[in-house]
Every structure is written in structure tokens, then in C-alpha cells.
């Protein structure tokens, strides 16, 4: 099929969905609000009204609002599925695994700490709403081992089974890392389903993302958690654009954090270490903002291929993250407008 035929409809749909993003004025107006309810009321006048349909705004708790927003995003993305067939549809399915994994992580934590949590607050954004996993069966799991057993038919089983030793509490860090790496490996291995051109573009954008995440991981792992170089290396993502395997290994085996900084300072990603005072606290935000503008650039450049769709997933996520940041700032009484603005991914 011709690419124009294949992508004209979905790209138009995405354009329309992007038209629903909040405008700069919307964001500024949200910043002005002084209560969580005020934010919800304002969002109800935008396209986010669907997110709160049937909800009582006055009684919405911050956590519930987050769930509503994330579900809203998933609902929008799931609709894009109908525009794809064959290999591309299969690739899209992999992208949705991320949401499934986030839900699974919640469930894994809840099972061992607060088993009633999932029942009472229903925080899932994907499982039970979409996908093949059996919601009732999963949340009925009494232990991690049972949960893993209930996931036997799912693709996550092989990543989880090494941790499912009965009688032992699972190490959440290791389990979550295993799931995340599984997703990343799925993403990389399924790139084969795309065309050569698409693959190259994805390698370009997400290679950058992989670089940045690797730097953040190694830097933080060394500085705050004192992880061993082997562990740092094993959990790094093997998909970098500018930082090759040897360089990543070199970073992991650096003797100190300063050495890492020195190795990176003069490169493309040196901007992460520009501000001595805020490099730790704003590192994630800097990464996201850098990606945000890069992704928007890329969208402008690409036209009739799947890149538009894949990038849209991230742009929507960034917007939701920003709204959540604003809500958190209000909830925890941060009244310094300029400071809040600096926390947002999008520059205002």
C-alpha cells in the first residue's frame, strides 16, 4: 500500500489530537489557579473534559486526577490502533506494553504492601480497560509468586519468573528494572517490523533518548546509590546514538562522579552539567525538555510514516506530566510561579 494512503488518515487524526493540546495561555491560566479543584474546573473547559466525565470535581483527590489524566491519554492513543494493520499494528501493540507494565508495577508493589489498594482506588490505566490481561484474575493474586503464575500466558512471564521464589519478598527494584528492560528490548527488537526509513528515524530520536537515560542512570547510580559498575552497565540501554557501548562501559567504570562529568562536559549532552547548583534536581526535567523540543522538530520533518504516531505518544505523555507537576505544586503549596515554570517540561 502506498504510504500516503496508509498514513493520511492517521496523521490527520494526530494533527487533530495535537490541536487539543493545551495552549500557552491555557498553561499560564492553570498556573494562576490556587486550588486543585480550580485546575480541574479549568481543564473541564478544554479538551480534557473527557478525562473527568462522570466525575465529581469537588471530591477528586490529586491521585485520582492523575489516574483520570493518564487514562485520558491511553484512551486517545488506543483509538489510533484502528488506523494500523499488519506489522505496524503489531509494533503499536508493543508501545502499549508500557502502560501495561506501569500498571503491573503498581500491582506488584500493592500485593506486598497494601493488598486492598488496587480494589479500593482502582488506579490502573490500561489493564482491565484494554489489552489481553485478565484484570480480575490478576488483582485476585495473593502473592507475587501467584501473580507471576497468573501471568504465565503473557509476554512478561519470562522476565518475572527469576524473581518468583516462594517465601521470599521480591526485590521491587530488580523486578521493575527487569520489566523496563523487557519493554526496551521489545521496542528495539520490534523495530524490524518498520520500514528502513522509519527505523532510521526512530534510531535517531530514541537513540538520543537512550543516551540521555543512560547518562542519568549511571550518574545517579554512582552518586546516590553507589551501585557497582557491573550493575550500572547491565542495566544500561544498548540503543545509544552518540554514546557507543565502549563509551558507556567507560562511564560505568569511572572512578568518580566528577570523572563522568568531565567525560561528558564537552559533548552534545554537556548541557546536563552546565549549572552546578541545579544539575541534580533538574537533570530529569532538562532531559525531558531537550527531548520535547527535539521531538517537535522531528515531527515537523517527518510526514508519511509511523514516526508521527510514535512521537505523539511521547508528546502527550509530556503534556500530562506537566499538568501533574502543576497540580503537585499547588497541592504542596509552592507559590513561587517562576519556580513552578522551571519545573515544567515545556518552556513558558
Amino acid at each position: 500500500m502506498n504510504n500516503v494512503v496508509r498514513y493520511a488518515a492517521v496523521n490527520t487524526k494526530i494533527r487533530a489530537l495535537e490541536g487539543q493540546f493545551l495552549s500557552r495561555e491555557d498553561c499560564l491560566a492553570l498556573l494562576e489557579k490556587d486550588s486543585v479543584q480550580g485546575i480541574v474546573q479549568y481543564l473541564r473547559q478544554t479538551h480534557y473534559r473527557d478525562a473527568f466525565e462522570g466525575m465529581d470535581a469537588a471530591n477528586l483527590h490529586r491521585g485520582q486526577i492523575e489516574v483520570c489524566l493518564k487514562r485520558y491519554a491511553v484512551d486517545k492513543l488506543v483509538r489510533l490502533k484502528h488506523y494500523f494493520r499488519g506489522t505496524h499494528a503489531r509494533f503499536l501493540k508493543v508501545l502499549f506494553m508500557r502502560y501495561e507494565i506501569e500498571d503491573l508495577k503498581l500491582l506488584i508493589r500493592a500485593i506486598e504492601t497494601d493488598p486492598g489498594y488496587i480494589y479500593t482506588s482502582n488506579p490502573f490505566v490500561y489493564i482491565g480497560r484494554y489489552g489481553d490481561l485478565d484484570y480480575d484474575k490478576l488483582i485476585a493474586s495473593k502473592s507475587f509468586v501467584e501473580l507471576v503464575d497468573n501471568l504465565r500466558a503473557s509476554p512478561y512471564y519470562s522476565s518475572l519468573v527469576p524473581f518468583a521464589e516462594s517465601g521470599k519478598q521480591s526485590n521491587h527494584f530488580l523486578v521493575e528494572m527487569a520489566l523496563d528492560l523487557f519493554y526496551i528490548n521489545m521496542f528495539i527488537s520490534h523495530l524490524e517490523l518498520l520500514t528502513e526509513g522509519e527505523r532510521q528515524k526512530i534510531q535517531d530520536i530514541y537513540g538520543m533518548k537512550a543516551d540521555l537515560l543512560n547518562i542519568q542512570w549511571i550518574y545517579r547510580g554512582k552518586k546516590f546509590y553507589n551501585l557497582s559498575p557491573e550493575v550500572l552497565l547491565n542495566y544500561s540501554i544498548n540503543f545509544g546514538k552518540r554514546l557507543n557501548k565502549a563509551f558507556i562501559k567507560d562511564l560505568c567504570y569511572s572512578a568518580s562522579v566528577n570523572e563522568i562529568e568531565d567525560k561528558l562536559k564537552d559533548g552534545v549532552y554537556g548541557f546536563l552539567f552546565d549549572h552546578e547548583k541545579t544539575k541534580d534536581i533538574f537533570m530529569e526535567r532538562r532531559i525531558f525538555r531537550y527531548l520535547y523540543y527535539r521531538l517537535r522538530d522531528y515531527k515537523g520533518k517527518s510526514s508519511m510514516d509511523m514516526v508521527q504516531t510514535i512521537v505523539f505518544f511521547d508528546l502527550l505523555e509530556f503534556e500530562i506530566r506537566d499538568i501533574i507537576t502543576i497540580i503537585e505544586n499547588i497541592r504542596y503549596h509552592n507559590e513561587d510561579l517562576e519556580q513552578i515554570k522551571r519545573c515544567l517540561i515545556r518552556g513558558l
Binding site: 519470562s158 519468573v161 527469576p162 557497582s228 557491573e230 550493575v231 552497565l233 547491565n234
Partner: protein, 666 residues
Amino acid sequence: MAIERMEMLNIIGHLSDMNFITRELVLLGCMHPVNALREINSNNFTISTTIKNMDALVDVNFIRPYRANQQEAELIQKTESLMDLFELDRNEVEWNPRWQREFNEWAEDIWDIYGKIEACQKEMEELKARQKRIDELIQYFEYIRSLDIPWHELKGMENFDFRIGLFSKENMAKLRTNYDNTPAIVYPVCTLPEGVVEISIVPKSLVPELDRIYQSLGYQPINIPENFQGTPREIIEELNKERTEINDKLQSCHTSIVKVKSEYADIIKQAYAESKILEKMQVLKNEAACSNEFFYMAGWVPVKAKKMIEEKLKSVEDRTMISYKQPEQVGQQLTPPTLLRNSLLLRPFEALVNMYGTPSYNELDPTSFVGLSYMLLFGAMFGDLGQGFLFLLAGVFLAKFKYRTNLGGVLARLGISSMIFGALYGSVFGFEHIIPALLVRPMENINTMLIAAVGLGVMLLSVSFVYSLINAVKRRDIEEGLLGKNGASGLLFFWTLLIIVLLYLQKGSLPLPLPAIIAILGALLLLMVVKQPVASLMMKKRPLHHQQVRDYYVEEGFGILETILSMLSNTISFVRVGAFALNHVGLFVAFETMSEMIQNAGGKILILILGNAVIIGLEGLIVFIQGLRLEYYELFGKYYNGSGIPYRPVEWKLPRKKRRRASAEA
């Protein structure tokens, strides 16, 4: 040809009678249960205040949902497992309606039999578990088969430890990049689709570090705590030997079970039937409520079943309160379920109706209309005496031998209709000159066919308007019934327009001056636009509009456009009936021409048979679907709601095979 009338059955009885009453109800198979607590809460469950009912009245205060009896559930499960264990066919149950033993009696039988084979079964379970472990071990040792080191020597190392496990391919690659920093000798022994199995030898003091590194690589260790002598190859041989021994033991267990089976199979078959009835009884009980002394049960039953219920429950009549209530007395939130009742000719078409949605209790059952019109449409599109007969045969075959009563029934009836039209069109297996046409030859009268098809459409549409009107009257819905586009004004508009067009075509001039026509049609359209405020005025309801006034008129304004367009398209849509009748002939003409081009007589016949097969398979399917489309889209859209709840009584029946045999014997 209607929807069966239902009444709400309320039963209050002593808990000691509960088993008897629920069993009778299950065997009668006529009660669609309703949650009794809900029914009580909605105040529908009334007990008249008389001295006789005093106990029940006092008791109501302690009411709670009925809790299923754990022992019964266990019994059902035990019977199931006995059936499995003895490998009895579930279709071969024995059941004698007179065999009404008390629950405790057959329960004791089951416990007895279970006790006899329990030890044997336990042994079998243990053997099977061991067999499973052996299979696992064999698999593990197969992985390291190439290792020519005795297992006990590996296990007995003093300063070194070893790990056997699986890495995914990605993680194995990662391990390789950092091999220089890994404190172990890593030796891959086997490649599997999901990864690489390796054995690592590590100094004992470095085990924790290795484990930490391996954990971050998603390492799946293979644990073999057992001690073995010999190399993996020898161990596999040993294990295989043990496996055969276990198989022998299992076999002997099996023989002893078969012995018990031959002795008790009949009892178990009967008990199994009883346990199935018990299971159904539990479904009823789960919806019941109970207090310390009484139980309360509610459910819908067809009016005609009332007599049978009374008869069956006669023996407990004096201490049980049985009352019935009309649907109107029950309240809005409990709608009666729908049971369709149709004549033999039309019954299979209920499936077509239910495929779209079950009619609601207060709606007109559309089955008769659907059945007749569908037969008409199908026959008109696919009129052929011979091919229709094949459909009839296929339908009868499906219904009788494949137990597809609905599909088979529909197919058989469509076949008959096709045969009738085949006689009218004079067509047998596509040939148009074997028999005379009783009515018309489609190909020779193309225009007649097309116009007649539209005429048929107008007729069917008008009937569906009437259905819509009756449904609106039943709902007391002035807005849609009197003023809506599918109600009286719609019908009037449709026919006015139609008559004007017909007269114009016939006489060549308009029957009324143009402004008058526009005024009449405009007035009808206007009525449809303002249906909501007018209906509210008539019913003396406020506010006049149920939504924002502006939105309402914008919506209705466009609605008018849609009404006109859809009337036109719905009517024209029926042209396809004529078109398919022509198509049917045309398709065969093509095959006939092909056969004439072939010299060989066998080839000719082959092409004709092939042609008939293609026509029956392909065109038959298309016409089937097109007919369904006309029914669902063009007609149902007008008058049918289909938001009912299907009537699902709790019942138990013998398996089909058994029932057939029983009726044959009778």
C-alpha cells in the same frame, strides 16, 4: 406470535423445605431468578399482615443473603472428580425422575466410593508429581548433556561453587561485553530459542558478587538440589529408568481404580446427574435471602407455568407462601425477561431477532414480521426450485443431525421460499427453459422486477411504521409515536410524498398546486421538528425542551434532512432485491455460456455443476447477508429497540444424546 406473559413468583418457605422446592423448580425449569434481597428492598415483596404470617413477619427483620452450603459445594466437586477419575462420559449420565433420593443418601454413596479409592488416588498424585520432577530433571540434564563431568564431583568442589542457568540473548551479549569484570568462568552449554544455558564456575568467596551481577542480567537459575552419581548422560539414563518404573506403578493403580469403577459406575452416573441438579439448585439459592427460620425467593415465571408450579409444590402448600405479581405491580427497576413464543414456521427466526437484541417485555415481538419478510426477500432474490431444494436439505440436515436447530430451521424455510419463487420464475438449477414461469421471467422483465422490488420495499416499510406506532402506543410515547419521524407524522409524510410521486408519474401533472404540496409536506416536517415541545405541552410537562433550546433546534433541523434522505435511501435500497434476482439469472448465464464453449460433454456438466456450486455458496451467502441487512438496517432501525433481557430459567436437562434415546425408547 408474541411475547410470553410473565409474573413475579414470590416464595416464602421454611428452610427445611428449601431443597425440595428448589429441586422442583429446577426440574420444572421455568424460573428466571431475581435477587430476593433486592426485591425485598424495593418493597415489592409484601406479606399480608395476618396471624398466620406472624412468624414470617417477625423473621423478616433478621433477613440476610443465603449463604451457600459448603458441604454441597464440596460434594459437587467430589462427584466431578470421580467422573474424571473413572473417565466417565458426561453425556452418559443416568437419571430416573422417580429416583428421588434424599441429598444425604447419595452424598453418603459418594463419600463411600471416594473413601475406597482415596489412598490409590493419593499414590497416583504422588507418582505423577515425581514423574513431573523427573521430566524436569531430564530436561535440565539434557541442557548440560555435553558436560562430561560427574555430577557428584561438581557438587563436591571445596573452594569453588557452580551455577547453571539461562540468559536471554540480549543479556548474554551484555555479559560478554563485560566478561573481563565477571568473577567466574562462564561456559555456554546449550542454546535454546529463549536464550543460552551456561554453567559458571566461581570461587566460593566471590559467589555473592556473582549473584548480584547475574541478578541484574535477568538470570534464571536452574536449581538441582538433588544428589546424583555419574555424568549428566548417565543420570539421564537412570532417570529414564525410574520413569518407566513409575509408569508401571501408575498402570497398576489405574487397574485397581477400573475395578472400583465397574462396581460403582451406575451409582456415580446417577449421583452425577443429581449433583448437576444440585448445582442448579445452588444458582437459585444464591439469589435467595434467608432468616433464621425462613427463606425468601423471587423470580419471573411464564403465566402458563403457574399451574404446574402449584401442582408440584402441593405437598408443602400449607406451610409455604406462594404469591404472584403482575409486572405492573413490581416497579420500574425490575423488568420482566422476554420469552418469545412463535409458531413452528417462524420460531427459528427468533435467532435472527436475538442476534440484534432481545425484544423488551413491552415491545411487539417482531419475529413474525422478520420471518415472513425475510423469507419473501430471500426467495425473491434467490428464486430457484432446484437450488432452493438443496438449501432445504442442508437445513434439515443441520437441524436434525448437527443440532443447529436455529440455523438449520432458517435455512430450510429459506429453501422452501426459494423453491416457491423458483416455480414463479420458472428456474431449476439455473435453467430457465425446463419448467414454465408461473409469474414472471426476471431477465425478460427487468424494469418490472426493479419496480416491483421498490414496491415490496414500500410495503415492508409501511408495515414497520405500523410496528413502530404500536410500540409507541405501548410505551405511551407521544413524542416519537405521534410526532416522530418513525411515528404517525413520518408515515403520513412518507405516504403523501409517495402518492404525489405516483400520481405525477401516472398523469404527468401534479395532483395539487405546488404551493399546497409544499405546505402539507412542510407542515408535517415542522411537526417533526417541534415534536418535543409539542409533546411536552400535550402531556403538560415542563420544561418544554430537555436540552438547550438552541442545540435542540440545530439537531432537529439536521434531523429533517436526515429523515428525508433516509426515507429516500431506505426505499431505493430495496431495488437490490430485484437486482439480485437478475444477478442470479445472469450469473448462471455466464456459466452456461462457458459450458457451451466446451466440446467435451463431461466438461460441460462439470462447468454446470461448478456454476451451481458457486451460485449456491457465494450468491447464497451474499443474498443471505443482503436480506439480513435490509431487515436490520432498513426495517429494524424504524421500529425495533431490542433492549430486553432474555429469559434464562434455571433448569437442568439430560444431555442431548441421552434425551433423544429416552424419547425414542418412550
